[in-house]
């Protein structure tokens, strides 16, 4: 998937901090893309599994549901719901209130962005630690689902993994924003450039109409 706001500079910028951010950003892109791809695949799996379940469960056909269907879905949900969190953070998909910051620019904007990224980094690390504890408990006591008795720890492990990636991403964004707060004239690297409402509308249109948008206009 290519978004206009997800482009990578072909070469690292000349300044030292810029080069660091550029490299860190590149390192984390591959796992992020993989996570979102896994989420996309899991979505397709969820749909197909649902269809199989309906067919197998139909009273006039087999009348025998998939064993542990609900358990499987619940254990798969973190793949769809959480794994892609860092990917979304990179693209700026998570919603925010931009009523105030859309009025800022230059050093003030990037100082506030540094603060926001730092806050995200902080909560991501905290939740990484404590969701890891939650996983570790489940692993130690051998927690399993009620119906099919499938172990829950692999599913719970996905949460701290996702938060570890998010922490890394938030760290990159913090440095990236800090670099621009120091020198607002530099080319942005490793940060989300805020879209105005008209650009957001373009993004919505691209999502709804896809490639068809290009050949018609």
């Amino acid at each position: 998937m290519s978004s206009s706001h997800d482009s990578v500079l072909p070469n690292p910028p000349p300044d030292g901090l810029g080069r660091l951010v550029w490299h860190l950003d590149r390192v984390i892109r591959a796992p992020e893309n993989l996570m979102n791809f896994l989420a996309a695949a899991a979505t397709l799996f969820l749909v197909l599994l649902g269809v199989v379940q309906v067919v197998l469960n139909a009273k006039w056909l087999f009348n025998s549901p998939i064993f542990g269907y609900i358990d499987m879905i619940e254990l798969a949900m973190p793949i769809l719901a959480i794994l892609g969190i860092s990917y979304c953070q990179r693209l700026g998909t998570h919603i925010r209130m931009d009523i105030l910051i859309q009025r800022f620019d230059g050093r003030l904007l990037w100082s506030v962005e540094t603060f926001a990224a730092l806050m995200t980094l902080m909560i991501a690390i905290l939740l990484m630690i404590f969701s890891w504890n939650f996983f570790a408990d489940a692993y130690q006591i051998g927690d399993s689902t009620t119906d099919a008795e499938i172990d829950t720890w692999p599913s719970k492990l996905l949460v701290p993994i996702a938060f570890a990636l998010l922490s890394f991403r938030a760290f990159v964004q913090t440095i990236g924003a800090l670099r621009l707060a120091i020198n607002p004239g530099l080319t942005p690297v490793g940060v989300v450039v805020q879209m105005d409402i008209a650009e957001q509308a373009q993004e919505e249109i691209r999502e709804a109409l896809g490639d068809a948008d290009e050949d018609a206009s």
């Binding site: 989420a39 969820l46 973190p78």
Partner: protein, 488 residues
């Protein structure tokens, strides 16, 4: 490390602000005539709500702002180790729920629906059947959008698709650009009421109501909204015949030949509605089957692997965005329940010396204002933990009967009814300045129509929406009738 920073006292309540359960600290100190207000836990609640909005204003993503405020509040209320542990369980516990697994298929249906080429056929059929009305093409657009809503839960996407399909046709017949643009922007909002609707699933989750009941409840108000829009268009075209001339001259055989193009949408709608109503499949299974049907149609219409992959990747992204908001808000809600803020706010609302309808009206105005700054899903998630209990208390509480209630609805009915009204309210914000994302979408697809025309075109539909909301408040049966059948 944090515990080390906070010191050995971090595990007792009041670890951060020293307020915790200490009722000596109050927002307004006691005077001789008035007792103190917002003391102890309540004060912590107020501080953390301010913290949430402060962080959100400074550009922290709403989900993370809520998680931070909730985390801080939990640590303050119950100490560091128990508070942090509780916060750490929420992201898993609130996402690995079967009831929520309905969201990805619903979202996928919307992303695939355009590829399935359903919109132009739907519009074609509507045009042939009802084009003869005054403003006929615009009425046909609204009806086609209502139909498309059955395979789409996203308002902006529906507006984008119909900007492409319906506006050129209307302009070809010399329709007023304001009418053409306005109808497409406004009609897009029908998607969130008519099932499948992601936002109603989220509402159901927050207020712990049946997902099926909420989805069914949206159906009639969606149709009702469409009819009000149609009425406004007919009136507009009656008074200004040049704005929307009727389109006539279709034979009956042409009309009937346009019907097969509508069948896929009818199938998807029937799958979802009958599954909820009859229970032959769960909502998730019905959503999966619906998505599969749309997928098959999209493939027969020439969608290739690239298109499917893109739709799935976009679905995954939107899914994560919604779920992140859900667990972020739930960390905050876990804390709020310790802080007693919802209870206190409810009590305050109930004690107000005004008619319940006046209070409801004020709350809805509040939503309209907030909707100017925030996306609909975010706004609902942030506000419902506090406003929902208050409105329920206003109606008479969790076990109230119809006779004893303020709005003539028992507790379950009131909960469903309020959900439909706030969702409709949130949608109105999608067509009003300054955000009015749907209007920007129309302008983005058809740049020759200036934004000012879109916003002027929307004015009458905005009035139509206010009439619709007034109608839903005065005649709650429009909302509660279908779900009541479900309850038996």
């Amino acid at each position: 490390m944090i515990q080390w920073l906070l010191g050995p006292e971090a595990d007792v309540p009041g670890a951060l602000f020293g307020i915790g359960y200490n009722f000596d600290y109050c927002l307004f100190a006691a005077t001789e005539t008035e007792p103190g207000a917002a003391c102890g836990p309540l004060l912590v609640g107020v501080i953390c709500i301010v913290l949430l909005f402060g962080l959100a204003l400074l550009g922290v993503r709403i989900a993370f702002a809520a998680a931070i405020a909730g985390f801080v509040g939990l640590v303050e209320m119950i100490g560091f180790t128990p508070g942090a542990a509780q916060a750490g369980t929420v992201p898993y516990a609130k996402t690995s729920l079967y009831a929520l697994s309905v969201l990805p298929p619903f979202i996928l249906i919307g992303f695939l629906a355009f590829h399935a080429g359903m919109t132009s056929k739907l519009f074609d059929a509507a045009r042939k059947w009802i084009g003869w009305l005054p403003g006929g093409l615009a009425v046909a657009t609204v009806m086609a959008q209502a139909g498309f809503a059955a395979v789409s839960g996203a308002s902006t996407a529906t507006a984008a698709v119909f900007s492409r399909v319906a506006i050129p046709e209307m302009l070809r017949f010399n329709y007023d650009t304001k009418l053409a643009a306005g109808v497409v922007a406004a009609g897009g909002t029908l998607a969130t009421l008519i099932p499948p609707s992601a936002i109603l699933v989220i509402y159901a989750l927050i207020v712990e109501e049946s997902v099926g009941a909420l989805l069914l409840a949206g159906f009639l108000p969606g149709i009702f909204s469409a009819l009000v829009y149609a009425g406004i268009i007919v009136l507009w075209a009656k008074f200004k015949p040049d704005a929307g001339p009727p389109v006539t001259g279709f034979s009956w055989s042409e009309r009937f030949r346009s019907l097969p193009g509508v069948i896929p949408i009818v199938i998807v709608a029937m799958i979802i509605i009958t599954a909820i109503y009859d229970g032959w499949a769960t909502v998730t299974e019905a959503g999966a089957l619906g998505a599969f049907v749309v997928l098959v149609i999209a493939v027969t219409q020439g969608m290739r692997f690239g298109g499917l992959k893109e739709a799935l990747m976009d679905t995954a992204r939107l899914t994560v965005m919604i779920f992140t908001l859900i667990w972020g808000i739930f960390i905050f809600v876990t804390f709020l329940n310790y802080s007693t803020v919802p209870q206190a706010f409810s009590q305050w609302i109930v004690d107000l010396p005004y008619n319940p309808y006046v209070i409801l009206f004020a709350i809805l105005i509040g939503y309209a204002v907030l909707g100017m700054f925030m996306d609909a899903i975010g706004m609902l998630l942030v506000t419902l933990p506090i406003f929902y209990p208050a409105v329920m208390a206003l109606n008479g509480g969790d076990y109230v009967t119809r006779e004893d209630s303020a709005f003539g609805l028992d507790a379950t009915e009131a909960s469903i009814w309020f959900g439909i009204i706030v969702v409709k309210m949130a949608e109105v914000c999608l067509i009003t300045p300054p955000i009015g994302l749907n209007c920007f979408v129309v302008n983005g697809v058809q740049p020759q129509i200036p934004l000012a025309h879109v916003f002027r075109g929307i004015l009458l539909f905005f009035i139509a929406d206010l009439l619709t909301i007034a109608g839903l408040v005065m005649f709650p049966e429009i909302v509660t009738w279908l779900p009541a059948l479900l309850r038996g």
